[in-house]
Symmetry: C2
Subunit: 794 residues, 2 copies
């Protein structure tokens, strides 16, 4: 393989080339050192087995390519005074990014014990992939990173999220050819149809084809170049190729390619910003082809390594036991000529650092990679302005998400100048009844428009693409660079991003322990179009399990809210939008729902997270209730209130307490979650020994998993969704899942000691009502009038 690029001339002088190469070699040396060495970091003595780590864990393959990109980005930033951020998609190359940030000084400023000298270098090497040290990937611990390099697929959507509303920023994004095979990455190429050349920054994808994954060639690397070009042009890019394995030639070609892309980006932005150009541009993209494990051992034990999948992890695996491997490692390290790169104290020599930008322009020091430094308070209104009036509970109906839409419109409008708030959703903003926001901002759209289109806007901050992955990635990138947002999603399909949100929560878990990482705005989900109201989509659209998934994760970073009406939704959303470093999951309906609480009551109730609704029960305050009806979620709350009403009418002597839970983690013991209740509080709400019939929005066993340690757990009976989903009416859904008012009344009757006999006729009435329902719906296809027209008469 010889180096070539589409550009012929080179902008590099011989001296500049020599210095760039020195930087690259230094980064390569430091990468290998991290993977292998425990001591003797500068090879001041002959390499011996005991200098080598006992467990060799790391990924060499992608590192030299990342080092090349970092080196040339440095040059570009410095030569043009750019503000840049880089997303390192092939995050297995953790040692590369760490090496570069140590070279430029960012690492030592972040971790003062890792000094820029021999002692610091020894600590840098030792900590890598070592117990108690730093991960082998680009990670939260890595200065300059907003992107964990563990799971693949999210680099490009993170890059676009970072670029939105950052008009002065260049976001480069290295995409490994393994990552390029994933679905989320494949979808995110079309993000350029949503990037506004006027108000957003630029994204420069660098597709780094080194040809192999762990054990296989990659699809894109084996396409004929013409076919790959068609693909990349079809994605809306103008590809520029840099291919080679001869360092000097690759340096020249890479410097040329970086200059060309920077020129083109500047031209695109100037045309849009100054000349009013409205056509969607073709953004440049670099295809960088260098060998996997470039500059590493060409052969080990008679097998090709450099340029093959065998270079993926640790090319020489038996260094401590095999003298030949030890010798090869020493030769490999010395091939970078460390004595030219580091002085006798281990500090990088000046030549190595000539390409490094100053201060906050260094990739490891940009505040854009530590978004908490930039985040501002959102302008949130007094909630009373949007609250629905509630003279008495249950007198009126509102669509909660529509009410929230008005609040979001306010925030969208108030942030029109600062542009640090976006709403994302997979083509569902209007379906989820948040369309009020369009009055303040249209939907981002750079592709063609037609006369009939509505609310499309080149400068819009509502983001809609039919890819939950892309929505999630955009929002993560946006939040991680110091802005705010909300993701509204059909409840069932948010599982599509289960694995992505895992990684984001892990990120938050780790950054919360890093004092230098400032808190960022929370990732807020509004899950709606939920399991109980999929009247026309049915079973395929029914799954309330995202809450279960979230509650498995680190408790310090996750919050789950199930507001039962419009005002509680406002209160919860307000709290979520003000919060930091959480993933907030809000489950709320878009269908008309009774208003239960005034704004003031809602605020108090949500602050407590769970409470007794005394107006709904029949306690007289002189003794413990006979039974507790508990609920979480809008539909369960309505059924519980209807059950309470039936009990009040039919069994007026029964003392029933109604408890509503908004913040589901309140049910956990206080040791298990920061919002968990003490046993004293729990017993105060639910009693230690009375029957509790709990109507829950999702899978019933979640409530048991949260409450199993409580004294009264054996008296807790939970109803919820048990996979009895289908296309049907709202009330039929609750009947099929035994969450309906009639069943809840029967559950109470069956559990209060002595009541089953005394209330046998009432119980039979409930059975009859269910039979009536079944017959009516089969005939008419709609719910019983007594259910459809039900109102609260308390």
């Amino acid at each position: 393989m010889r180096a070539h690029s589409q550009q012929v001339s080179s902008p590099l002088s011989g001296e500049e080339l020599r210095r760039l190469d020195a930087h690259w070699r230094a980064a390569n040396y430091l990468s290998v050192g991290q993977i292998y060495l425990m001591s003797n970091p500068l090879l001041t003595e002959p390499l011996r087995a005991e200098h080598v780590k006992p467990r060799l864990l790391g990924h060499w393959g992608t590192s030299p390519g990342l080092n090349l990109v970092y080196t040339h980005l440095n040059r570009l930033i410095r030569s043009r005074g750019l503000q840049a951020l880089c997303i390192w998609g092939p995050g297995h190359g953790g040692p590369a990014v760490v090496a570069n940030s140590w070279l430029e000084g960012s690492y030592t400023e972040t971790y003062p014990d890792i000094t820029r000298d021999a002692a610091g270098m020894a600590r840098l090497f030792r900590q890598f992939s070592f117990p108690g040290g730093v991960p082998s990937h680009v990670a939260p611990e890595t200065p300059g990173s907003i992107h964990e390099g563990g799971e693949l697929g999210y680099a490009l959507s993170h890059a676009y999220g970072a670029a939105f509303d950052n008009p002065g920023l260049l976001v480069t994004c290295v995409i490994g050819d393994g990552e390029a095979e994933t679905g989320p990455l494949a979808a995110s190429w079309h993000s350029n149809k949503f990037l506004d050349p006027v108000r957003d920054g630029a994204v420069l994808p660098i597709l780094h084809l080194n040809g192999y994954k762990i054990a296989n060639p990659t699809v894109l690397s084996r396409l004929p170049e013409s076919e790959l070009d068609e693909l990349l042009k079809g994605y809306g890019h103008e590809p520029i190729h840099v291919t080679g394995d001869e360092p000097a030639a690759v340096h020249r070609a890479m410097a040329q390619a970086m200059d060309t892309t920077a020129d083109r980006i500047a031209a695109v932005q100037r045309a849009a910003r100054e000349e009013g150009e409205m056509e969607r541009p073709r953004w440049p993209l670099i295809v960088l082809r260098t060998p996997k494990g470039w500059t590493g051992p060409a052969e080990v034990d008679g097998l090709s390594v450099e340029g093959t999948w065998r270079a993926h992890q640790v090319p020489l695996s038996a260094v401590r036991d095999n003298p030949d491997h030890l010798r090869q490692l020493e030769e490999w390290l010395l091939s970078y000529r460390p004595q030219e790169l580091f002085d006798e104290h281990g500090a990088p020599r000046p030549d190595v650092l000539t390409c490094v930008p100053d201060d906050a322009r260094r990739l490891g020091s940009t505040p854009h990679a530590n978004g908490g430094l930039l985040v501002r308070e959102l302008p949130l209104p007094p909630l009373e302005r949007f609250a629905v009036p509630v003279d008495k509970p249950g007198a009126n109906l509102h669509e909660p998400t529509r009410v929230l839409g008005d609040l979001l419109e306010y925030v969208m409008r108030e942030t029109a100048g600062r542009r640090d708030f976006r709403v994302v959703g997979p083509d569902e903003t209007a379906s989820n009844r948040l369309q009020a926001v369009y009055a303040a901002s249209g939907k981002a759209w750079q592709a063609r428009t037609l006369e009939v289109d509505e609310h499309l806007d080149r400068h819009g901050r509502v983001m809609e693409i039919l890819s939950e992955h892309t929505c999630q990635g955009w929002l993560e990138g946006y939040l991680l660079t110091g802005r705010h947002g909300l993701f509204s999603c059909y409840e069932a399909f948010v599982h599509i991003v289960d694995s992505m949100v895992n990684q984001h929560i892990k990120w938050l878990r780790v950054t919360r322990r890093l004092p230098w990482r400032a808190p960022i705005a929370s990732l807020n989900y509004l899950l709606t179009s939920h399991v109980w109201r999929q009247d026309h989509n049915g079973f395929s659209h029914q799954d309330p399990g995202f809450v279960d998934h979230i509650l498995n994760k680190s408790p310090e970073a996750v919050r789950v809210y199930l507001p039962p009406d419009a005002n509680t939704l406002l209160s919860v959303a307000d709290h979520a939008l003000r919060s930091r470093d959480y993933v907030n999951v809000i489950v709320a309906g878009k269908q008309p729902c009774f208003d239960w609480l005034t704004m003031e009551e809602a605020r108090v109730h949500c602050a407590r997270g769970a409470g007794i609704w005394d107006w709904a029960g029949t306690e007289d305050g002189t003794r413990e209730p006979d039974a507790v009806l508990a609920c979480a979620g809008d539909v369960p709350t309505q059924e519980v209130l209807a059950a309470a009403q039936l009990l009040r009418h039919h069994l007026p002597e029964l003392a029933v307490r109604v408890v509503n839970v908004v913040d589901i983690a309140r049910l956990l013991p206080s040791e298990e979650h920061p919002h968990g209740m003490s046993d004293f509080e729990y017993n105060g709400l639910f009693t230690p020994d009375k029957p509790v019939v709990f109507a829950y929005h999702g899978y019933p066993w979640l409530i048991h998993r949260l409450a199993y340690r409580r004294t009264g757990h054996q008296h807790l009976h939970v109803r919820g969704y048990k996979e009895m989903g289908t296309t049907t009416t709202p009330f039929d859904m609750v009947v099929r899942n035994d969450l309906d008012r009639y069943r809840l009344v029967m559950d109470v009757i069956d559990r209060v000691p002595g009541l089953a006999v005394r209330a046998a006729a009432v119980r039979q009435g409930m059975e009859d009502a269910r039979l009536r329902h079944h017959a009516y719906i089969r005939e008419h296809g709609v719910d019983l009038p007594e259910v459809a027209d039900w109102t609260w008469d308390g």
Copy 2:
């Protein structure tokens, strides 16, 4: 918009065109009827409000396009005698596919009460999206479908899965332009690099651009045609365009396009099969652009509907209340001229049916869409052939997945002729140590190869692409068409397909209740590279929560196994590969693991699912034990046995029982899961009142969620993974999560009444050992010798 296609001549005679159009109009009529009508199906009397459903639920927008495709596929199948299957990606168009299968007779053969006459038509209409009826999507209930139309993104990978090893089959796949924005779909375009023109069938994608999603234009529909062509060519296809809104012209162009693609596919296959052509072909693809809601109301209430997003669901929404809407609906229905299409009894007239193929070639009757009709028993070996020898427990170590790899090689070899078994994985087959299979079959690969490549094979049946979505979709399509397979995946990253497996389980839940759907082979997951052994990847690669996700789903369709060693893995895998209609999740390690059970013991133990390992405990059989040490998973089993050994040495008088659980659903009550234990059985294993210290592979609360109803639940203490993940040694991982042997011993001591005082010194010894561990690992980066070299001495 005028019709055009790249082809000029038309293969259609005027008569044939008239008949095709009649079929299309009939399908359109029946689609509208399903969405709107309760009665008066043939409009034999003027349409009145009471003929219309009270709840209008369905999706018209995509239906006329699907009807066009079905009509022209009929023609193609009939004219060329093809075997074809169609994947209907825009599955919201359920009424379209149902309409066509009723027309061709498949529907009535499947559901005899839905006769092909006026009474049957009335039932067909009424049942659609009606409580107790059929879903509004293409669904398991739809004859001819293997693809649920709820969640989007999986159409094309399902199509490829169906085509693999079906050389005589044409799999057409309609991809909506909304679906095309999703990640899984975007990734699956590259499936053509894995399609063998010799041994596999053909896939014909039909990209149906109607321009809009629910509420937004779609990205692909708004690309300039030249840019879209670049994209599709970059995906490896040769696009053929059919564009129009004038029916006759579109019929002509579509017929021409279908003929052209069929010719090209035949030519490709002939070249590969008969002429030895080795180059990857460019497969044809049709881009079909027709208006959304084509032939529906052009305007409603003064707003454009046909050709816009407003046609997505129900174009006329107030038919029962608004006489103008009612009139428009009647005009719309009559515009299809139903009296020309159906005779006075409501049966389709012969002209309508001339394009319909015969018998099993009808799309609604092909056995490929009811794979259980085709599935054969897998040739599985006697397990003894692959079992590892076990003279005494814990004497030897094996890598369980490597042992399984040998069994898979056998199956791969034995199916070399019949080709109905594939192994899929995201670039992890070798990493997961299953590489023995390569001896029987290489990895499917149609792209370029290099000298250095290993195990790539044009005809291979091991499938590796770095996309869990594509792997899952391929395997689902393969299983649904009557074949077998196994998906090996890193445990943490299988969450990527959480939402896909949801839909597959829902599919199985429904098909199990449909007598005409024959059982298919189970979807088998091998989850390895698990949470406890991510030594060099750390936190980002650690998540054992897929089991929790799976156990939320319909119990009749899900099974979860945690074999503790190599022989139990063989037994479990054998069972899974023989089973039908399940999703089997097997969690097993790839690292060296002690062999505990002989093959015979393993078989018995796995059949029971959970059992006492009496050789590991210190019970004497005369009384209940003092404590139970329970375990599930390979690493927890090792720690429990080490704890049992410590207890035996230090507290020999203590009667400890060791229980191992392989089949985790055994812990559920028998009413909750078919594998659940009775309380009698449970108490026999775990005792009703003794302390149980349970070491579990995953999140500890899962065990509580399964066992909370048991008498002895308050004595159950579970240790497991609690998000304390990082890059570290194996033993440090268990220490960080309090799952280590020393902690388990302390847990027993703390819970056996009276023991805390008596065994204070032993307990202190355990604390000391943990401190020793912390110091040692900080210093050396490896585990204490006493742990690293531990062996079972029982």
